[in-house]
Symmetry: C2
Subunit: 153 residues, 2 copies
DNA sequence: ATTGCTGCAAAACGTTTGCACCTAT
DNA sequence: ATAGGTGCAAACGTTTTGCAGCAAT
């Protein structure tokens, strides 16, 4: 199981922060880290419910925040007022380009961005927590764009 | 009135897109462009309502989107699932740093970012629509941070 | 005259909360 | 034993929608 390491990280985090270690929290963790791509909290809750999980909506929302706090997940906003989560586990830092036509999300990395958030924080006398760099754009290949229209992100 | 130019831009946009030119839309435009700082749609609606405006909530939401389309406003998301708007009129491009402790929003510009969104779009074969670069951080000056806590953004 | 826009209220949506019960510590 | 977590449903705040009447074209 590749999630043994994650389980240990989560367990240690819960212990340190004096949060209780419950089976429900680990169940949410399994589903969240196993999710392929970006997902909303409610989306994950529905998926778990459909898999006959008995974990409640409140617990899903609550646990996802804990997973963000211990850095196993990233929380993102792609401009549609829904919080989306994404596994950080064994993944490198990246940013996002969102197609304004079809909603498709493309991940990219650009070396020119390296160190910029840190440097801006330093200039402004802030301690960096996180940053988000989202590009909203239209695909030039209209056929490809249409193709994505009815797919999940 | 400094908004004559804006009024002309909005009027031409409405005409071109075959949207009707109504007094309500211009009333929303006046309030939106006159707002000092970032505001949510409902916030603007309440403000207008308190100023005895008769414009409805639906019209406010609708018109703000039109103002974004014609580039008089920018629509932003600072990670709290509320769409916030900001006047583009006679303002230069800038990005945002949000204090995760008190919610204070600081605007900054950084020359190193210039051209990066355009260049990434070019590489990925997309046409740039807009981008958002948000930094989430903590103020090192705790007193200043506290000071902002109960101020509007 | 014909659409599209408006106001209003209600619904929808994602998210949070209140409460009684349960369980990890 | 007891603080804290859970499930459930109801409440919440923001945004969208349905509809009848109105007004810009």
């Amino acid at each position: 199981m590749k999630n043994e390491k994650a389980e240990e990280i989560f367990r240690n985090f819960l212990k340190e922060e004096k949060n209780r270690i419950t089976p429900e929290r680990f169940e949410v963790m399994e589903y969240a880290l196993g999710y392929d791509g970006h997902f909303g909290a409610d989306e994950l809750f529905i998926k778990m419910k459909n898999s006959k999980s008995r974990v409640s909506r409140a617990t899903v929302y609550n646990t996802l925040e804990l997973l963000v706090q211990c850095n196993l997940l990233s929380k993102r906003n792609f401009g549609d007022n829904i919080s989306r989560y994404e596994s950080n586990f064994k993944r490198q830092q990246h940013d996002h380009l969102i197609c304004v036509e079809c909603g498709k999300i493309i991940e990219f990395t650009d070396a020119r961005l390296t160190g910029i958030p840190e440097s801006i924080c330093k200039d402004l006398n802030f301690d960096l927590d996180s940053y988000s760099f989202n590009i909203f754009a239209r695909c030039r290949n209209k056929k490809a764009c249409k193709k994505y229209r009815n797919e999940k992100n």
